[in-house]
């Protein structure tokens, strides 16, 4: 039984092969060239997209890092009200203790 399927398949593919052989080399070569061009273009656009995303991430990171680094370098001192020592003088006993 399997033999008949095999024979039918062989016959079928032989006819397909005859049809496929009709294609001229020029068309096949053109398809290969176009495929390579398409591949180069796709790869380039992928790289471009990758570069744009990388730049965007870098820009966002810089926007966060730069102000933070600036803040770390020059910490804002707490705005405390000036302390009043009153009428403390050199001769006060409290001053001498300090």
């Amino acid at each position: 039984m399997a033999e008949s399927e095999e024979k039918l398949l062989n016959d079928y593919f032989q006819r397909i092969d005859v049809e496929a052989e009709e294609i001229p080399d020029v068309k096949l070569d053109a398809a290969i060239r176009k495929g390579m061009q398409q591949g180069s273009h796709k790869r380039f656009s992928f790289r471009k997209r990758y570069a744009v995303v990388a730049l965007a991430v870098l820009a966002i990171a810089l926007l966060i890092i730069v102000p933070w680094a600036h803040q770390m370098a020059n910490p804002v001192r707490a705005q405390l009200p000036p302390k009043s020592w009153g009428s403390l003088s050199y001769l006060d006993p409290l001053f001498l203790i300090i």
């Binding site: 039984m1 399997a2 399927e5 095999e6 039918l8 398949l9 062989n10 079928y12 593919f13 006819r15 397909i16 092969d17 049809e19 496929a20 052989e21 294609i23 080399d25 068309k27 096949l28 070569d29 398809a31 290969i32 060239r33 176009k34 495929g35 390579m36 398409q38 591949g39 180069s40 796709k42 790869r43």
Partner: protein
């Protein structure tokens, strides 16, 4: 003296060959490799799609995918089976796309083509279309490209035992479909 001349000649040949290798770009080498397989690839695509324009398009798409992923191929000696696998994947993608647009495709195939094909051929085409893609690819490579099970296993990157199972299952599915068609038409 004559020996030294011979040595000079071979060393010159080496230098020329090396230079030619440097001059030949990545693109040229890739093109040559694909061009060596072009008829085989096209015929496989044609056996799936049975249409010149679609087969050429699939060949183009396979070349495109292979060109993009060419650096992922570690062993250059496996280029041919690797490219064939890419092409079969492209064919399967195209068949999936056709299935999605089944109505339009059916309408298109009804025009003109039907009357040119024999009943027997149409039966086989329809039966093959009903076979699972993974079984069908084995049938194509075995009965169309006359590949051995080992060669098919290399192309599909599967163990030989799996390929043998797929071949038997594919034949069984094909037989069932042909039988069902026979029952349908001839009682």
């Amino acid at each position: 003296m004559r020996e030294s001349k011979g040595e000079d000649k071979t060393s010159m040949e080496h230098i020329i060959n090396d230079e030619m290798e440097i001059v030949a770009t990545d693109e040229d080498i890739f093109y040559e490799l694909v061009a060596e397989q072009k008829r085989k690839l096209y015929s496989i695509a044609y056996s799936y799609l049975r249409n010149e324009a679609d087969s050429l398009e699939v060949l183009q798409e396979a070349t495109c995918r292979a060109w993009i992923k060419r650096k992922s191929l570690k062993d250059s000696e496996r280029f041919a089976p690797w490219l064939t696998r890419i092409l079969i994947n492209c064919c399967n993608d195209e068949l999936k796309r056709r299935k999605r647009n089944a109505v339009t495709e059916a309408a298109r195939s009804d025009v003109g083509i039907m009357e040119m094909k024999s009943d027997r051929r149409l039966d086989m085409e329809q039966a093959l279309e009903g076979v699972k893609p993974k079984y069908r690819q084995v049938l194509v490579l075995k009965y169309y490209k006359d590949m051995t099970l080992a060669e098919i296993a290399e192309v599909l990157d599967k163990p030989e035992g799996t390929v043998k199972t797929w071949l038997n299952k594919g034949l069984k599915q094909l037989r069932d479909r042909m039988k069902r068609k026979g029952d349908l038409f001839y009682g």
